[in-house]
Symmetry: C2
Subunit: 309 residues, 2 copies
Amino acid sequence: MAELPSWRDTPTRRAIVDFVERVTSGAAAVPPEERIAVFDNDGTLWTEKPLPIQADFILRRLHEMADQDPSLREKQPWKAAYERDYAWLGKVMEDHYRGDDTNVRTLLGGVLAAHGGISVDDFERQADSFLRSAKHPTLGRGYIDCAYAPMVELLRHLEANSFSNYIASGGGRDFMRPISEEIYGIRRDRVIGSSTALDYVADEGGGTIIRKPEADVLDDGPAKPIRIWSRIGRRPLIAAGNSNGDLPMLHFAGAPARPGLRLLVLHDDADREFDYIGGAEAALETARAEGWTVISVKNDWATVFAEPK
Amino acid sequence: MAELPSWRDTPTRRAIVDFVERVTSGAAAVPPEERIAVFDNDGTLWTEKPLPIQADFILRRLHEMADQDPSLREKQPWKAAYERDYAWLGKVMEDHYRGDDTNVRTLLGGVLAAHGGISVDDFERQADSFLRSAKHPTLGRGYIDCAYAPMVELLRHLEANSFSNYIASGGGRDFMRPISEEIYGIRRDRVIGSSTALDYVADEGGGTIIRKPEADVLDDGPAKPIRIWSRIGRRPLIAAGNSNGDLPMLHFAGAPARPGLRLLVLHDDADREFDYIGGAEAALETARAEGWTVISVKNDWATVFAEPK
């Protein structure tokens, strides 16, 4: 098993290796330009607990804002950020996956204000610096080392088989771009994700692109296949996700007359990572009903995280 | 002059060749991943007169609709399409470039209705079939042979120098995608353009993406640098356009501390193509004031169109 060494020799691993073999050689081979694989990021390529990594980035900024302006401390989401009330924040995502976006909108107001009005270049510097310095609260490693080693190996295996890998994440596109190539080998132009509205401001030096404090697209649910089509112009052959918001993207992989591999990461390993199915109930149910490939962190992965560099 | 054989040996050609040499070798070399070149399509890579090629595609569909439903014949833009009133249609674009979008909105209503409600796959088949069969009204060639040979050579020259070429067009992204690789060697994932709103409709077979009869983004003016950033995540090194709507994109190419090549195609050759500056007045003025490279069809190009295949 030269390829995928962090995977145990299970039916899951064999399903993946066999699929790749089937679509790259023999009668069912798919032309290289159609070998598109799309990956959700949070909970699929890197850890998303106790909070998505970008949430920590935003919370630190909200904390800083509340530190500077005491009036913000009485107002959500600054209040939760200032009081480090992770329960409120965790509930926002759970509510979202259950279809209640009331608090998502409250949180979004803060998210947009946190980095609104700055240039995309300044935002990138802040994201890059955060990702390279901040530590995960419980896993004993920096965020930049929170990618799943087996998934990174899968990306390399696909690349070696002429696949083009894309990130199709609910997370912020411009948050992931500074590190996507280093962590995943996925170039910045292949990062699809949520975006804020942008403004082009002409100036003497070629103009500047500014983040407006307005939402643009939340790349989740049915927005995922739409964003994938818009960016790539093709239906993927492989899609990997871990939550209900990935369902449309998973369905979208593979047309009726063509094979398709749908991968769903199941977080069932409290010892090495986290054990949760909140926000993934419908996805797991569909995966079982449709015979999609469920990846058990506990059973299918020999190693979860690579040794930090 | 092995490269760019359809270009005459003029200062324009030398400016282009010298720039490419300067950013690919020696002290001012730019890393390959930053060698991004963006090209407007209509009037920059292929001809846009007497009407943009996509306009003919839409007009034929509007004519067909008015043919089936007589009540549409009294209503713009169906009226103009049915009566082949090219003057009305030409005026729409001229008004647009002068900043008056009243008729653009009228036209857009028809445009959206013309191909609304169909799947992106059906739209692609229609666009592909049109582009491979329809003829240009005066140039004596099919639309697929209306690309400028010198610009196609420039794309190849850039590619040979590790540039990544993108189309950043006001035209429809999904209209250009079926032929962009064949005509320009630009893959479908590198086509940026205007888009209509899309809907993801779940079904038994992987879901379908449907064109909604609603505008999404008109990729013109300040939207161009924003769309370029959103798609690529980088500031281009080279930008080429031909009209006022390309100005922000042209400005955006080249940061203060980095070289940038701005190319503006000037249509001044009534014998071999067309002679017009309508909609390009501000662009030409800026190009002269800023010292950008103006490409004269008449003087800089030895050949305008390749022999039809």
